[in-house]
């Protein structure tokens, strides 16, 4: 297991120029033929945020009680969830990202995971800076831990990469998982306290939220960023460890299994 991981890490270092070139190609070129360009990175979550604020104002949504402006809460929370969802999708594209040349050139395919995750992380950082500027403009009281957001999202990144990497192998063989993943992420968002808080929930909803690991990985990270403290921090730490362990296992699975499925890409 560790021999495989060592080889993978060495490959990433060896292929850093390839990762950079592909990152540059896909990150900078993704909006090149667009008037708004990189503005889409902040516009997309803003549109989502606007819809949640509207639903809250219309009384459709019951987000629970909190000592924080709801629009700011939902903006941060959806940005974090968006990062998680983007990471899952990006990691699930690990093999497909190289479809144009994967059957023509030999290179370590796990380097594409790094490129895909770097792209998702860069998108998040841009969104985060924008959110910070917006909150400062509206004089929202920000906690010190708010600035630790780029670190606090790393457990989510690990969990998302593990899920996505596993899916990327299955997707090559059967497309079902790719289709299912989009629906699952939307569904999971409602099972996770993203646009509402976990407190004040009762019955089956409370039980589901308690069992859902994302309640802690996303919820605790968000609460630390928004409120400066979070309930269930022990679960957060435990799940962080589990997420990184899962990532290592999925990397091993990817390394061993990808060569069995690569020929199915043609």
């Amino acid at each position: 297991m560790f021999a495989v991981l060592r080889v993978m890490a060495a490959d990433v270092v060896r292929c850093r120029e390839l990762i950079w070139q592909l990152f540059k190609r896909d990150f900078l070129m993704q909006y090149k033929k667009s008037f708004l360009g990189l503005g889409w990175i902040v516009l997309a979550p803003l549109l989502g945020f606007a819809s949640w604020v509207f639903m809250n104002a219309a009384g459709v949504l019951n987000p629970g009680t909190m000592d924080f402006p709801y629009p700011a809460f939902v903006l941060i929370s959806t940005t974090l969830w968006g990062f998680f969802a983007n990471c899952v999708t990006a990691a699930s594209r690990t093999l497909k990202a190289g479809q144009g040349f994967i059957d023509q050139v030999q290179y370590p395919h796990h380097t594409l995971l790094v490129k895909e995750l770097a792209q998702a992380y860069a998108n998040f950082l841009i969104s985060f800076v924008f959110v910070a500027l917006l909150l400062i403009c509206f004089r929202v009281d920000l906690q010190v831990l708010f600035w630790a957001a780029p670190l606090l999202v790393l457990p989510m990144l690990a969990a998302a990469a593990a899920i996505g990497l596993t899916a990327s192998i299955i997707t090559v063989v059967a497309m079902d998982i790719e289709k299912a993943l989009g629906y699952l992420l939307s569904f999971m968002m409602f099972l996770t306290p993203v646009v509402y808080t976990a407190e004040d929930r009762t019955g089956i909803v409370k039980a589901i939220l308690a069992l859902n690991p994302m309640t802690y990985l996303h919820g605790c990270a968000r609460d630390l960023i928004v409120f400066g403290s979070a309930a269930g921090a022990d679960m957060f730490l435990g799940l962080t460890l589990a997420a990184f362990l899962l990532l290592l296992l999925s990397m091993k699975w990817f390394y061993v299994a990808e060569e069995k499925v690569i020929e199915k890409m043609i």
Binding site: Q21, I102, Q104, A257, E263
Partner: protein, 430 residues
């Protein structure tokens, strides 16, 4: 191939050794999905699975392939589509893992399988040189050093700073090829990409390949262009249905391959004939005279489908006459398949030499013999026309699928006519 696997050692001048190589694929999507899932799960769990046997709907794309390549050697791989050439290249490059067997190599392998891998249409030519060069395994410093050379070789002029979406398809492949040939690996694998660009660029590419060989690098070259193989390679492997049919000297191999192609084509056409598709077109007037069969005979009167260059050519036609005919007049035409040209138009009613009069009912065979034919190597169809010589009425006229091949002579020939020739070179102006 995974780098944690140990590589076997190679002797001094051997740069590539392929041993008992097998690769299988699945021909149905559903089974392919199932096997893909099952194999990946088994490999993770460390459960062995039968890579050495075929499961339902699997077939061997490569079967027991083995060869060695020495420093400075150029090996041509030829074979019909689907014979396994590109699969072999992908296994050597490490894109696909083998199911059985081993590949060992010394040095850096570069593959020119498709030019312009990973090109982004919105990036400039210069940006794409760095992108594509990195994908092909070059470092930034290496690209920096070769940049001017690549630009000069691609000859894309002022378009270098323009997005490649504005390039013509020719410019795009020229740029892709220029990047790839400047990678300069120890072993270069080239898969059918030397036919890109205009004549001047193709000549430049061929010169580059020769320079590459002159530096004592090894070359594996796949192409359907036999002239390119002849010029570049001193050794040839012929592949057929995943197996090696021939491995040896290129001039011998190329003639063998040409003959093999023709035999395969004739066999395919004759399979159509056997399955009932005898005619491409037929016009028959009643059953007074009925066509039965036609084809080629050898000296012993046995049916054959192949004739050697400059050999005797005997074509027969069988027919049945149901009513007595005053005079039978028939023609046999030999048509070159590739060029769609009538090569022989045999008229049997040359009354000075042959005439067939007052033919009573019965089954007949007419044979026309050319003592030494001059048909060029290729595949030929035979057409016929049976008429009443006295009245000019047409009895039966058919464009058939019956075919035969003319084998290549010992030296390489092109064209539809073979001739015994000699050449002289004379200096006219000092």
């Amino acid at each position: 191939m995974k780098p944690i696997q140990p590589a076997p050692r190679l002797e001094n001048d051997i740069v590539l050794r392929v041993e008992n190589l097998y690769k299988k694929f699945c021909c149905t999507l559903r089974h392919s999905m199932y096997y893909g899932m099952a194999d990946s799960v088994r490999s993770v769990l460390g459960v062995p699975y039968g890579t050495d046997r075929l499961r339902k709907n699997e077939f061997w794309a490569l079967e027991d392939i083995g060869f060695e390549l020495r420093r400075g050697e150029a090996l041509g791989i030829i074979g019909a589509n689907g014979s396994g050439k590109s699969t072999l290249l992908r296994l050597i490059t490490g894109i696909f893992p083998p199911d059985k067997g081993r590949i060992a190599f010394a040095g850096r392998i570069g593959a020119l399988i498709a030019v312009g891998a990973g090109f982004h249409p919105h990036m400039t030519g210069r940006e794409n040189i760095y992108l594509n060069g990195t994908i092909l395994g070059m470092h930034r410093r290496e690209i920096d050093e070769k940049l001017e050379e690549i630009i000069a070789f691609a000859d894309i002029g002022n378009f270098l700073e323009a997005p490649i979406s504005t390039y013509s398809s020719g410019m795009r492949v020229r740029l892709g090829f220029a990047i790839a040939v400047h990678c300069e690996p120890d072993i270069l694998l080239v898969d059918e990409v030397l036919s890109v660009g205009d004549l001047a660029f193709r000549n430049k590419s061929m010169r580059k390949m020769r320079d590459f060989r002159a530096k004592a690098n090894a070359l594996i070259f796949i192409s359907h262009n036999l002239d390119q193989i002849r010029v570049l390679c001193d050794r040839v492997i012929i592949m057929d249905h995943g197996r090696t049919l021939f491995d040896g000297d290129s001039s011998e191999g190329l003639i063998r391959y040409e003959n093999l192609c023709k035999d395969m084509r004739v066999a395919a056409v004759n399979r159509d004939v056997e399955s009932g598709e005898l005619f491409r077109q037929r016009h028959a007037d009643g059953d007074r005279v009925m066509f039965v069969d036609l084809g080629l005979l050898n000296r012993q009167g046995e049916r054959v489908y192949t004739v050697g260059a400059f050999e005797e050519l005997r074509i027969f036609i069988d027919f049945i006459i149901n009513e007595e005919s005053e005079e039978i007049f028939f023609t046999l035409a030999v048509l070159n398949e590739a060029k769609n040209i009538d090569c022989i138009w045999s008229k049997s009613n040359d009354r000075n030499r042959h005439s067939f009069r007052n033919i009573r009912p019965g089954r007949y065979r007419a044979v026309v013999t050319y003592k030494e034919h001059h048909l060029g190597p290729g595949v030929y169809f035979i057409n016929y026309h049976i008429m009443n010589g006295a009245t000019g009425e047409s009895y039966d006229h058919g464009f058939t699928n019956v075919s035969f091949s003319v084998k290549s002579p010992a030296h390489f020939e092109r064209g539809i006519v073979l001739s015994q020739d000699s050449w002289d070179l004379e200096r006219l102006v000092p």
